[in-house]
């Protein structure tokens, strides 16, 4: 079949292409995973285009893979079985802002920075902040999070309703506008994080927040990772409503100093942020400082002014770039385990030791209020030995997390990279997931090969 011609019969000519450059752009993501080309890329303009694409694909059993900006980290958007890549760049409108309902309705191709720019006019913000300026459709598909999950929750907590086109072209709404509901099954929660394997999103209704009256930021240096993590756990446990609490290890701070010619103390460092009213924040900050000091903190600085807050957090912000620029030609493999708080210190220390022993260069940083941390491993994907070592580090951390009740992925998702750990993590629940997949996508056209091997 001439896929391009068939699809041009359904969409308009300029919405369908097999231009080699465009195919190549849709055959990879930001990860180390091997690229693989789609047969064709389509650019739907609205829900009706998506319905028609899916009806066609389902009829001819052609794989479809939704594509936002390609910032996934586990190969989610790579169409390993070819077929149709659905690029949402033309569906990038902010459809409605309901400031007094603290809700916004968007198309899936809207990026988080695009949304925040618009929301600022209303004194509002959208809380989820993964490293990349990802699309909101992609963020919902992977249940993304970032530095604010400890206070505001993950992507799943923000999605009030999804408009979803199912494999057979039916279109549904998974939720509504109410802040809570006990009416029927929680389809919203099921579709968020389903990575394009259960349906394709055409509209999202998201929860937003008022920009806080006051924001304070802090940076705290510790003699050891254990001290830093213990301080973080203490701060969380007593219920100080920290908005962000990030760990950066000494090796990573050194990388930032090398890259930016800065002289930050090269010790494990906590970066904190507090949102609220000024009086409350001062008290929270004081309590956090005390708990840090009780856990060996050797320096605790804080700032209120937005420019100086950014300076205080500079080492955290520049981290990924510092590694990428420091190792030209290498790619970054990022681990993503998440463990219960009491297991965090052990897990982070284990990670640091494992990296040091491996000979691979890399840093440890974490959203440690959630028990989630990443190792950034600098590797050459074309060097089989280096790849194998990095895979072993990844596997060893996942093993450690699973043995302690944790998960292989706190926020990046499964894609192809974490598919091999699904049986171990979920046991028989994986069969339940698979039966849901088969029920909603009997022909297996929706992003095949992802989540399930």
């Amino acid at each position: 079949m001439d896929l391009v011609r068939e699809l041009r019969g359904i969409l308009s000519e300029e919405q369908v292409t097999n231009n080699p450059t465009v195919l190549e752009q849709h055959g990879k993501d930001e990860s180390y995973h091997t690229p693989s080309l789609p047969d064709v890329v389509v650019f739907p303009k609205d829900r009706y285009d998506v319905i028609n694409i899916l009806k066609f694909a389902n009829n001819y059993k052609i794989p479809v893979t939704p594509f936002g900006l390609g910032s996934s980290l586990e190969g989610h958007v790579i169409p390993y079985q070819g077929g149709i890549s659905i690029d949402f760049q033309l569906m990038n409108k902010i459809l409605e802002v309901r400031p007094n309902d603290l809700l916004v309705r968007v198309q899936p191709g809207v990026t988080r920075s695009q949304l925040n720019k618009e929301l600022k006019k209303y004194g509002l913000f959208f809380s989820v902040d993964p490293g990349a300026d990802a699309t909101l459709g992609g963020m919902a598909a992977t249940n993304a999070s970032g530095t604010t999950a400890v206070r505001y929750g993950v992507m799943r907590d923000q999605v009030r309703d999804l408009e979803v086109v199912l494999a057979d072209g039916r279109i549904i709404h998974t939720g509504g506008l109410a802040a809570k509901s006990s009416s029927g099954y929680h389809l919203t929660g099921l579709f968020v994080g389903s990575e394009g394997t259960l349906g394709v999103f055409t509209e999202l209704t998201l929860r937003v927040y008022g920009i806080p009256e006051a924001i304070m930021a802090a940076r705290a240096n510790f003699p050891s990772v254990k001290n830093a993590v213990d301080a973080a756990v203490a701060i969380i446990s007593v219920g100080i409503p920290v908005a962000r609490i990030e760990l950066v290890d000494a090796r990573s701070i050194r990388q930032v100093n090398l890259h930016s010619k800065t002289d930050f103390p090269e010790t494990p460092t906590l970066f904190l942020e507090f949102h609220g009213n000024e009086d409350g924040l001062k008290k929270d900050m004081e309590s956090a400082r005390e708990l840090a000091m009780e856990n060996g903190c050797r320096g605790f600085e804080f700032e209120t002014d937005s420019k100086r807050r950014a300076q205080l957090w500079e080492a955290r912000h520049h981290l990924a770039y510092a590694f990428l620029h420091g190792y030209p030609g290498k790619k970054m493999m990022t681990t993503d385990i998440c463990v219960p708080l009491t297991e965090l210190s052990g897990a982070v220390e284990r990670a640091r030791e494992t990296i040091d022993q491996s000979g691979i260069h890399g840093g440890v940083l974490g959203h440690i209020g959630d028990g989630n941390f990443h190792t950034l491993l600098m590797i050459d994907p074309n060097d089989p030995e280096e790849m194998q070592i990095a895979e072993q580090i990844n596997a060893s951390l996942v093993e450690y997390a699973l043995s302690r009740g944790g998960t292989c992925s706190g926020e990046h998702g499964v894609g192809v990279g974490k598919a091999k750990y699904q049986r171990k993590e979920h046991g028989e629940a994986l069969d339940v997931m698979l039966s849901l997949k088969q029920t909603l996508d009997p022909n297996g056209i929706l992003n095949p090969g992802k989540i399930f091997r």
Copy 2:
């Protein structure tokens, strides 16, 4: 088949009964819905008992209905097709408290007050507080909430993991101990709120919170419901982290005064609570007071001391009793719609007018930070005319909510009472729910007749 004898072959003799009194206790809930008896009641002691019960029931296609304490409000536990009522009163152990992970693992028969009594020893509390002292299994099954959802979330937000026995006797874990995960489908969210129609819970891992450093309570009187709701919406919108914000209407305050010989001002009243540090609370309280005054507040009192806080909230606490005691012989039909914040004022006013015009006695109270409110309608279930009027009020409120993006049930669930609104609320998504139900329970043995008509 002699069900009792067969089940006694699987369980022990004292775990199986068809004693008429026990059958009667398991044939009703706290609602106005018509009772209907099970054929037999069983009392499992552990997961293996539950597995064996379900394997047996599935083999012979016998309906099973899980039963906690019977405090459901939409007929959830009433076995309209007979069969086996599974009572979880022997599975009432708190299995593990992990204070530093802010987690607890319990059996489904544990009640919320039983859990909070234990947690208090650790300086912790469990946040979800429906009116009844329900079991945690039942609360998870209906995605219950209560007065604290505006700050801490609903039941679904607290459940980290469920151990679930499926219709065919397979047993799975839906989640883990990590605070967040992007690994696989969100089965926890799917099973929470599934009302016993997808599986039977045998263990729950729940999130708990540190008891806040300081608590303040307030009570504010308004000339109209609209003023009170507008004040509440203003307080929520600017992001004051209120822990509770409840509306009680004038008619309800009058009922409390009649019942308790008190002299609370008979005006629409907001009851508020704030959790945090003392400095922050004072500031939050001051901001809330200002917003209340800007919206016509005629009296704003607040208290810090726990005893005086309880007195301040007395009218709210005594509300349901005041109505039940004021109308002996009548039952309470409770509506449960939830709407976007901007639709709340109109919905509450509409509810009040509809009740006043109907001739039925009743009050309006609401968890209005979430947009959720109840009308308490005092009715005689044996009076067909009164029942019809109350059903019409319910239907009219649901219609109003659905036309504005809301839901027929904010927290009570569907059961049989809200099943007739599911198609209207969910459209084609109801077919998706039904296909998931058929996949996981092909013989239709799990709480048949609930959610789906």
